[in-house]
């Protein structure tokens, strides 16, 4: 393992300190906690997200005016604990309640639900939007359901804009569930991530092998294959996403998300192929974005997210100005 770190167990503490020291004009840390909060803002429903670390810039990079009120940072790939989430809730609540945006993993769900129970005891209204945009995993009663991946960032963005414009907690919950239903993601990995405290990659792929459908913690995907040109990858992923909608969408937003170890150069090559295919498919793209938004430490690979933009106000919300570290 080759990483620019001090002690593996100090990474989160040192990263949190580094983030707030780098952007003191945007965010601050709530004392003695793993919570990064925005500096100020008008009164609104609080929006909180969080999860295990290792997905930077998610979620702290999306804290700021127009997106999240606060982010709670867990250990690497481990959900934050209810007491930390409760600190974020107490801080973000301005009397209108708090919405928690949670990626669908058992650990995250349990810890955020427990925090909601704690907030209930203090009479703070809290709702949870669960993001499960990864279409690689079957949603069945025999698994914990679909996983939450890069599409979460788009959920932050649209809800952040709605909250800023005065939507109520119940409106945001309802909107959040609709955004999640319209958002679908599929990933591909070339090389697994190495968790610093573990020191070795989470799974192994041969030099010429790729895996379709991997999650953001190196969970297995649906198929291993020989490496293909970007055009072929794009074809496979675009077709998977398109058929995942009941009705082929007419107008979409596209997010190409790097997993941490894949250069932007390759991501731009890939989105070029994606946009060409969508043009052929006659699907209009009214919003797109490329870069590292929901990473998996140093995993090589990327994910492709579609969001159905039949509701044209979502496109405006995605394009609205925000003051965050990383949007």
């Amino acid at each position: 393992m080759k990483k620019i770190i001090n002690e593996p167990q100090d990474i989160i503490e040192e990263m949190v300190t580094g983030i707030v020291k780098s952007y003191p004009d945007l965010v601050h840390r709530i004392a003695d906690s793993r919570v990064i909060a925005k500096n100020s803002g008008a009164k609104q429903v609080g929006l909180i997200s969080g999860g295990g670390s290792g997905h930077e810039p998610a979620h702290a990079g999306f804290v700021g005016n127009g997106m999240l009120s606060a982010a709670v940072l867990g250990d690497v790939f481990t959900s934050p604990t209810p007491d930390q989430i409760e600190i974020a809730i107490n801080h973000a609540n301005q009397g209108q309640g708090v919405l928690l945006i949670v990626k669908n993993y058992t650990g995250d769900i349990l810890n955020f639900e427990m925090a909601k129970d704690l907030a209930d005891m203090n009479d703070i209204p809290v709702e949870i939007v669960v993001v499960d945009d990864d279409i690689a995993v079957e949603d069945s009663t025999y698994t914990a359901g679909k996983r939450g991946v890069a599409g979460t960032v788009l959920v932050h963005k649209i809800l952040g804009d709605a909250a800023r414009n005065g939507s109520s907690l119940s409106e945001l919950k309802e909107l959040g569930d609709r955004i999640v239903a319209a958002t679908k993601t599929i990933g591909v990995a070339l090389k697994a991530a190495t968790v610093p405290e573990v020191g070795k990659p989470g799974f192994s792929l041969a030099e010429d092998e790729i895996e379709f459908g991997v999650g953001i913690h190196g969970e297995p995907g649906y198929r291993r294959e020989k490496l293909q040109p970007s055009k072929e990858l794009a074809k496979e992923m675009v077709s998977k996403l398109t058929v995942a909608y009941d009705q082929k969408p007419k107008e979409i937003g596209v997010l190409v998300n790097g997993m941490g170890g894949t250069p932007l150069m390759e991501q731009f090559v890939f989105i070029n192929d994606v946009l060409n295919l969508l043009l052929e498919e006659n699907i209009h793209v009214s919003f797109h974005k490329v870069g590292n938004y929901m990473t998996s430490i140093d995993m090589q690979g990327l994910s492709l997210t579609f969001i159905d933009l039949a509701d044209s106000t979502w496109q405006k919300a995605l394009s609205a100005e925000v003051s965050t570290i990383s949007w």
């Binding site: 250990d75 209810p82 058992t106 810890n111 427990m114 995993v137 698994t143 405290e197 573990v198 913690h217």
Partner: protein, 198 residues
């Protein structure tokens, strides 16, 4: 049998030691079907329990369980923190006015409340390849006054052939078969540490 706050505290302090010794074993079990950190996470929780125990010096069974549940909830993270935390939160409530536990049947009834806490939080049922499999078996065996090292071991080993239906392991589908569930293994350690005090 006569289990008072003294035995409960001795049991939990033994359990903390056992977890520390078995940290790598639990994380290794978690590697093929989870994310390889169950031992480290549990150990973080139990060392917090030791610290909090020294600071708070609980004197009743209920208060001891409360210190334990808060330590696990605030330090373990992942799914195990809330699940173990919920179990001991339920036990905190159901031991409120209890100063001694005098039969295995009574202990079984109490652990049944703990099991209900886990199930209310995690929604798992026996056979889903989780910690519930061990807790369920232990509750039944206690009620029949039949809890032994062997019966606990068997409940743990039985998770090996099951397909996971809850948690991160469930994503593996059939590939989860052939591995012992790490939560079942840490639960087995919990109840094996209790045996000398019954």
């Amino acid at each position: 049998m006569n289990v008072t706050v003294k035995e409960i505290q001795a049991w939990l302090s033994d359990f903390a030691e056992v977890i520390e010794k078995n940290k790598d074993y639990l994380s290794d079990l978690d590697t093929p079907i989870g994310d390889g950190d169950h031992g480290n996470n549990m150990n973080r929780g139990m060392s917090e329990y030791k610290t909090a125990f020294e600071a708070k010096q609980p004197t009743t069974i209920s208060d001891t369980f409360k210190v334990l549940s808060m330590a696990l909830i605030s330090k373990v993270g992942g799914a195990s923190g809330p699940l173990y935390g919920s179990a001991f939160m339920s036990l905190t409530k159901s031991t409120k006015d209890i100063t001694e536990i005098t039969s295995e049947k009574q202990l079984g009834d109490l652990f049944e409340n703990g099991l209900a806490g886990i199930q209310a939080r995690g929604k798992a049922t026996p056979g889903d390849k989780t910690m519930v499999d061990v807790w369920y078996s232990v509750v039944q065996e206690l009620k029949n006054a039949n809890l032994t090292k062997n019966s606990i071991e068997t409940a743990k080993e039985n998770t090996k052939e099951l397909q996971a239906k809850k948690g991160r392991a469930s994503y593996l589908g059939e590939r989860s078969i052939g591995h012992i569930d790490p939560g079942a293994a840490s639960s087995a350690l919990l109840f094996q540490s209790l045996l000398p005090y019954l």
